[in-house]
Symmetry: C2
Subunit: 342 residues, 2 copies
């Protein structure tokens, strides 16, 4: 077991400076794309950098600039199953795509219990990241407070449950549900059920609220028998739909609060011998805005992910740069997508 603790010491700025025949300051200027460098000096430095395979030491740089050029996406969720949530995957993909052209790095942090939340909080406060995008899917979450106290720039992905003063970006969930329900109403349906999301998630609550709102506005009294709570999964959607069919066999339409659940609901409907959409019309809410979901409902409300991810980083950067107003937030419009086969 030889002692290998002597890792190939990476070259420093000084060594580059010596090799290039200039001062440290000049090398630094070249590294940082300062315009105040002569072409000759620039070339000499670049050659030296290439020869030495020089990579700036981030710690040294961050110590003085107070920037790490990395932001964290924190996933605050006790359930490991979130990873399989298409919405989560889409956000990750969208964020890294947004940052691909920049020199910002994205790291994912997970926090499954209070200890891990503390750890994430510490990580952020210690200065590892410039800011945090937080996805906390369920109601209670201490992280916003931890980070706020520490003054770490923060944007929530999803409207917070309490009306707290914090920046966030969310889709217009209730608006989307209203549109979906109005679409069903517009085809003459009146016994419109809903398979809700989990009611301890804001997206579940808001979509349910939208369903109620649209019905009420149309003079239809929301019937508790027409409401079944799902869990955003296909299996849960199927179960909820079966429940609804047992409780209210006369339903003629259903707004399903997520696309996987809609796929499950469709299976339940077909298993029960109901025809779709002739007999029962289905509108789903597509978190991932993916067209090629397995067994999709005929019409869906698309989550505006393409709008959300750039906004998340933009709002965060504004805070980091210190040019953000208090708790600047945004709601992105959702829109109905009618499938060809509808």
């Amino acid at each position: 077991m030889t002692d290998m603790s002597t890792r190939p010491a990476s070259p420093t700025l000084d060594e580059v400076a010596v090799l290039a025949g200039v001062s440290r300051a000049t090398v630094s200027r070249v590294i940082n794309d300062s315009p105040r460098v002569s072409p000759e000096a620039r070339e000499a430095v670049q050659a030296a950098v290439a020869e030495l395979r020089y990579v700036p030491n981030r710690m040294a740089r961050s110590l003085v600039t107070r920037r790490t050029d990395t932001i964290a996406l924190v996933l605050n969720e006790p359930n490991t199953q979130v990873f399989s949530d298409p919405f989560f995957a889409s956000i990750v993909r969208g964020l890294s795509a947004t940052l691909a052209d920049t020199d910002l790095n994205l790291v994912l942090l997970t926090a499954r219990d209070e200890r891990e939340q503390e750890k994430v909080g510490r990580y952020a406060r210690q200065g590892h990241v410039d800011g945090v995008i937080l996805m906390s899917l369920h109601s209670q979450d201490p992280l916003p407070d931890i980070l706020a106290v520490a003054g770490v720039p923060l944007v929530l992905c999803g409207r917070p449950f309490d009306g707290r003063e914090v920046a966030y970006v969310d889709a217009d969930n209730s608006g989307g549900a209203v549109v979906a329900t109005e679409h069903l109403l517009g085809t003459g349906r009146r016994r419109i059920a809903t398979v809700t999301g989990p009611l301890d998630m804001i997206a579940g609550v808001d979509r349910y609220a939208g369903w109620r709102q649209a019905l009420t506005a149309a003079g239809v009294e929301p019937d508790p028998a027409l409401v079944a709570e799902g869990d955003f999964t296909e299996a849960g959607g199927r179960r909820a739909m079966e429940e609804l069919l047992a409780r209210a066999p006369d339903l003629d339409g259903v707004f399903v609060a997520s696309d996987p659940m809609a796929a499950g609901a469709l299976r339940a409907l077909r298993a029960a011998g109901r025809r779709v959409p002739e007999d029962v019309a289905v509108v789903g809410f597509d978190d991932a805005a993916v067209a090629e979901t397995t067994d999709p409902p005929l019409t869906t409300v698309a989550q505006p992910l393409a709008d959300m991810t750039p906004l998340l980083t933009e709002l965060l950067m504004r805070q980091i740069d210190g040019v953000a107003g208090p708790a600047e937030s945004r709601i992105c419009q959702t829109h109905l997508v009618r499938r060809a086969s509808a």
Copy 2:
């Protein structure tokens, strides 16, 4: 738009020292749990730390210690769908559980294309992390070379395709497949099929090899008609099983290379009117080693995740501490689990 770029300047070690009436060095010692501090000094410092809400500046510390106390789990995978892979989720969960008791942080990095791989490589080389655990599920991956050249400690999660000199931890995939196939052989079956994983993933290749090996050892010639390639998903497993049933209706057993695929295979078998296990016996390979999978096969080979995650961090830490032999690797034993209903 007021200028808020003046974030609440966090207190420094000096301020703590002044408040506690000691020197910086003493504060540093207390922070780092040095035993060479008097109880009184320790208390005074701790009080000051609490009062000032002092949090050490990681950049300054790392600059001198050359440690960041964070390791990265890099997910090198073009397909976003990996997130829904139970194996991946289990590894993440296992790693953060392993690190929960330590002061090491875990960050997830994703790399979907060459640009993102470069970015991840840069991130690591710049010194943001002490080491990298790399999950590269498909064959070609430039990251090991990038990191190796830069001297960044690296452990692969999964045996590399080429026989390269690099540390890795993997399950005994071929051994597990052998055990599974032998189990089927032991019940007197001879027409044993297999639903393989993707053959551009090492786990797929190794499990397929184990199936061949067990058959050959038992004097049974592997029949190409009894092989169908799946993609580790339930839908893929169902498709592959249907293919097998069409091609070789006389099969009397099947080794399915993942649990989700096994669930799909079971559905295909039932849809075809086959009885399980009387008619066709099924053994699945359970990557997540989760007992409560939907619709599980009767008998499974369990992936030894509980062994793998501690080993991954252990091997990585040994490299970081410079006490690792060249490319130290480990294979973890898999084992057959017979379900009660079997």
